[in-house]
Structures are given as C-alpha cells and as structure tokens.
Symmetry: C2
Subunit: 419 residues, 2 copies
Amino acid sequence: MSGIDAASLIAGMGARARAAAVLLAAMPGAEKARALASAAAAIRADAAAIEAANAEDMAAGAANGLSGAMLDRLRLDAGRIEAMAAGVEAVARLADPVGQVIERVERPNGLVLTRVRVPIGVIGIIYESRPNVTADAGALCFMSGNAAILRGGSEAIRSNRAIHAALARGLEAAGAPADAIQLVPIADRAAVGAMLTAEGAIDMIVPRGGKSLVARVQAEARVPVLAHLDGLNHTYIHAAADPEMARALALNAKMRRTGICGATETLLIDRGFADPAPVLKALADAGCELRGDAEVQAIEPRANPATAEDWDTEYLDSILSVKLVDGPAEAMAHIAAHGSHHTDAIVTGDAAVAERFLAGVDSAIVMWNASTQFADGGEFGLGAEIGISTGRLHARGPVALEGLTTYKWVVRGTGQARP
Amino acid sequence: MSGIDAASLIAGMGARARAAAVLLAAMPGAEKARALASAAAAIRADAAAIEAANAEDMAAGAANGLSGAMLDRLRLDAGRIEAMAAGVEAVARLADPVGQVIERVERPNGLVLTRVRVPIGVIGIIYESRPNVTADAGALCFMSGNAAILRGGSEAIRSNRAIHAALARGLEAAGAPADAIQLVPIADRAAVGAMLTAEGAIDMIVPRGGKSLVARVQAEARVPVLAHLDGLNHTYIHAAADPEMARALALNAKMRRTGICGATETLLIDRGFADPAPVLKALADAGCELRGDAEVQAIEPRANPATAEDWDTEYLDSILSVKLVDGPAEAMAHIAAHGSHHTDAIVTGDAAVAERFLAGVDSAIVMWNASTQFADGGEFGLGAEIGISTGRLHARGPVALEGLTTYKWVVRGTGQARP
C-alpha cells in the first residue's frame, strides 16, 4: 500500500474517531464503565480465538527469526488473556476525570469561571510486540473520553486484530460507538508516518516501545507526542544513610527487575558513607556486574573498570555503574550532567540534605529513602498508566487518565459586556 | 550571519539560560518579585534612552515603508514606557506558582507522594513589532522561574535592545542572574530557525504575532509550541434570549474592539428569536458591515450577501457574518464545522439549553450570557497573560504563570523497597 493510501486510510479512521469522540465526551462515567465491562467480557468470550490468532503470530515470528525475548513479549496464553480482561475491568473502576472542576473563580463583575476537565479528543497509540497494549491503551483512552487509533507491531497483527474485534463487539453490545477504539488494519509502516503527520485528525500520539520506535516518532511527528525516552536513573547513598537501608534499596532499585524504566543504572556513594562494602557485595552476590574506577574496585574486587560511556548508558540489564562522590553537590551535578530527568533517589537520614536533593534534582520523579523501581502509575495509585512521560509539558512522570485529558474554561454570566 | 552561526549563537544563549534557570528554579517568590521591581525601576530610569532607541526604529520603519498600523504598534512614548514598567511590577505582585503542591497522596505502603509545581526551564519567545513584549514576556517567564530567550522583530531591534539592557541591569542590581532574560542580538531570520530547532536547549516556544509568524513557527518547530492561531468566535442568540441582552452582547462582542482574538466573527440567530432586527440594526448603526443571505438581508437591508468563505473568515475588522439557524443543534453543528475552538458564546434565558451548549461546544472558552471579548487573561483574573492557547495540550485558553510551569513528583519514604 502506498503512502498516499495510508494517508487516506488514517484520514478516514480519524474522521470516524472524531465522530465517536464527540459522543464519548458527553458519555457519563458509569456508561463508559459499563461499556468497558462489556468489552472485558467479550475478550474472555473470545479467548480461544485470540489464542489461536496469537499462535499464528508466534509461528510467523519464529519463522522470521524473532528473538526469544521478542517472542515472549508477543506470546498470549489463557493467563495473559484473563489478565488483559481484568486490566480492562480495573480501568473501568477508575474515577472518571471528565467533568471534574479543576478551579472555580468568581470575578468582581459577577462572571463565574470554572475550569473543567474534558477529553483531549483522538489519541494515536503506536506500539510494538505486546498485544495486551491493544486492550490496555484502548481502555485508558476510552475511560478518559478519548477515541483511540491503535497501531501495533506487524509481528502481532493477528493477535491485535482478534483482541480489537472483541473490544469493538463488547463496546457495541453496550451501545457505545465501536469507532471509539480503532485498530489500523494494515501492517504497512507508511501507516505510522501517516499517523505522525495527521494534524487535526489525531490530537496526541503516545509511542509505546523501544528507544528506536520512540526516537522515530519524536523525529517525524507533527502531532504532539507524549513520550518516554530514557530512564537513566540514579540512587545516591548520602553519608548519613542508614547502612542496612542503603544496601536494601540499592539492591532493590537495581535488581528487582532490571529491564524496566524505573531501574537504577548508576549508584552514587558518598566517600563519607561508613559502609559501602556490604552494598556492593550484595549487588555482586546477586549477579550484578559492577563498573567503577580503582577506588570502587578496591571496595569490591569483582567490579570491572568503568569507561566514560558508562555514566551515560541505560543498561536495562544486570549492570550498574558505581561512582564515589564528595557530598550532595557533586552527586547532584553528576545527575544533572548524566541523568535523563526520569527518576532519581537519595538515601539519607538527614532531612535537610534530602529536601535539598528533592528540590534541586530536575527529574519527573525524585525520591527520598525509596526504591526507584516504584516509578510506576500503579504504584503511584493512578490505577494504570498509558506510559511515563519524560517530556516537560502537559504531563510528567506516570500518565494515567488525567494525563489523557485537557480542560475548557466555562464562563457563566448574566449579560456582562466588557467595558 | 549564516545559519550555522545562528545555531551556535542560540546554543550558547541556551546554555547560559539553562544555568540561570537552575538558579531561578530555587529562588523564593519574594526574591523574584524584588528583582522584577528592580527591573521596572531600571526601565523607568532608562526611559529617555528607550525613547531615543525607539525613535531610530520609527525612522527606519517609516523609511522602509511600514504601514501606519505597524508604526503605531512599534511606537513607544513616555506613557507606554511607564505602562511597561507598571506591567512588570504587576507581574511581580502575582502569586509565585513554583512550589505549589497540586496533589498529595499517601500510599498504603507509607510512601507519601506530592506533585509539586516547578518551572518548565527555558522558554523562547518569538514576537513582532510591539517592543513592550520584551518586558511583559520576560517578566512572566522570570516570575514563573523560567529563563527566557527573546527574539523580537527586526523593525524593533533598537527598542528591544534598550528595554532588555534596562531589564538585565535591574535584575543584576537585585542579585538575580542577568542571563535569566536574554535577547537575541541579531536581526537575522536564521535565529528564528535556530530557536525552533533548539531541542534540549529551549523547552517551549511561544510565538506572539500575526498568523503568518505563528504558522511558520508551528510548521518548522521541533521544540514544543504554545500557540494561538485563529479566533473565529461565534455568538449564538438562542430563541429564549432576552432581546435587550442579546442586542448589547452582540454589539459588544463584535464592536468593542474588532482587532482582538476574542472578537466575535459570526453571529448565529435562532429563527425562533423574537427580535433580531434591533440586534442587526444596532450593529449596522455602529458601522459594522453585515454579511448574510436573503433572509438576513430581509431583516437588515444594509446587510451584504455572504459567500461560503465568510463562515471560515476571521475578519479582525468591523465585519460580521450572520446566519439564521433552527435551534441549538444547528448552531452547535455550525460552530463545530467552522469555529476555531477559541471562544464561543450563547445568549439565552434557558439554563438547560445553556448547559447543553457549554458542555457540547469544544472550545477553549465557552460562555453563557457574556461577551466573547472577555477572553483575556486579565479578565479571567490571571493577572497577565503570555498568550491564549488554541492547542489542546498543556494549557488551553489564557495562559499566565501557571501555564509556564510543569510539575515533578516528590516521593518521601522510610526505606520502602518494591515487592
């Protein structure tokens, strides 16, 4: 299919999405929740068909030489399909953000202004491999009153079609517009380009995937993008840290799961900290490769030498760069120079130092005496997340329903003309 | 100066702005207010020099054939310079948004999360002709904790330099970083291009000027843009409108000032409205050209025929398109098809119809029984405005200090590791 065809396809989907978005914007929260419950039931009813479609994707993926990790992300079984349906139900239980009054002002001339949360409109989601995003992202957009145009990876297209068919049937059965959640039906990459330039048809794009996908989206998009790029996170053990807490948090922040964006990638340790050896020993014992200079290697002999590149590397693996610093100023300067403004933590018993760190480190999430692995919408109590934004505008950090809304100003008067 | 030189210039200014922004982000509100008061005093002290620089711009502008309207926008006199200084003082009196806690959540595991307002960082302002923007926009960015890179029109460069010199001296005298407000020193248009692509150095661009400037910025920018495009606003007189209120609001909404973005451009009148003739007569008597079909011309003989183009035209002049409609559904459909999502108003005594209009019209500002000319940050009680956003993300409608901030998540724990 040529680029022009992809553009017409996306324009047509955008027009249907806009019409659905108008209906969705006015739909009460309880009605949206009922429609999502119906969609979840349809996913359960279609479990066998979804699993069969997924088996075809898996076979094609294996034939095309997808890596084991890719195949695992692609795979759906009964448990994962049930988790997907339960996830849609969990989104349906979230509070409806639409219609919330953010602010109310009465002016001296009697005008009453309220700032009211409304949906953004049409959201484009571009994602890779994991087919559960079809249901998760579709549900989050729907519950926040937005129509969604979903474009999953070509390797998952049969799975995504099967999941989407269930979602659409479930929505329709509940009297909701099926066009509220649409799936781009073609695998052609030109469809991605058409979405990225669909100004006016798509109001915001959320890429969900690896760095190369996100980088392409950010480079080509004319539509605003809400994106997550790097999670080059630091945990800083201050001199006044409790040694046992420092050991436990460093271990958890790095090793609980190494592949998630909230994992710590660089450990900064004050030269004044009493007990660095047990911290590094616990990490090395857990199978973490440590990288540092001679001073670090003197503390933990299993550490390897670090190169300049290490301080700018998001490993997403069992590797940790370790650096000794002389106090908070040097730690904060290192984070400013090498961090990605995602999540950075300090471990200390000194409240004044902690507050200085929390105020001075310019990251979406700053933490005191907690594991950076808590950087997650569910852990933040948001119920779910469409992603974590490392941009500075609109929404920052974990993004859930509220980040998928905007607001309007509603002005009520009694005939006021402006003098 | 070549494009490459402009890029290096902007990169250098960006680096100095970033350093200043770090200091500004931590500066207490009272200290920022004192620095702005000092800047206002410096503007007053430099009034003669500013006026002399402006006289040179005026002479050059006249020699270059600038229109009378352009020359009026460019002109500074003692009154306008005093107003500029007073404007900076007014910004200094606004509440500091930085550090405000938007939300506080305590999680079952004991983690305490607060969402805290912080500055965006470095804001680029690209503007035309009116030199007072140098002071206004610089002060708004400063008070919200952001460093500003200002790029005014080449026709005002001497005036802008003189105003900027005063601002910078005033800030420095108060111990604030002069690099917090920088002015691009060259008139080369390549500087605009360099700003628009300065990802990482500039966090947000705000264009202030005519449609061609804003359109160029939106087309070329890789940096996020907070922009105002069209103000194709409607006033809809519902059947249940009070006739005298309808007359007064239509007249004010169109004719109070025709050149501002909140002016009404299209008047929709219900066929069921009792008394359209006095409304149209008042407008025609006030010198407004009316454009409509035969039905409209039958009501007001001075009306001219409307073409299809009229419904999509932002006149910014004493011209008004007028259309008769059959009730709220047709009015709202017309607004959806032809409006620019800026400001739309209904005049009616029927509260249920009004609420349906307020909920169903997808504009940044929706009004009931009020003049669309109230679409203004000052009138909304925001104290000042950097502009009115017609985009849907980050900020919508009048944007003042809060729209120049973002937030960070601050997580305080007692050693929590994630299970």
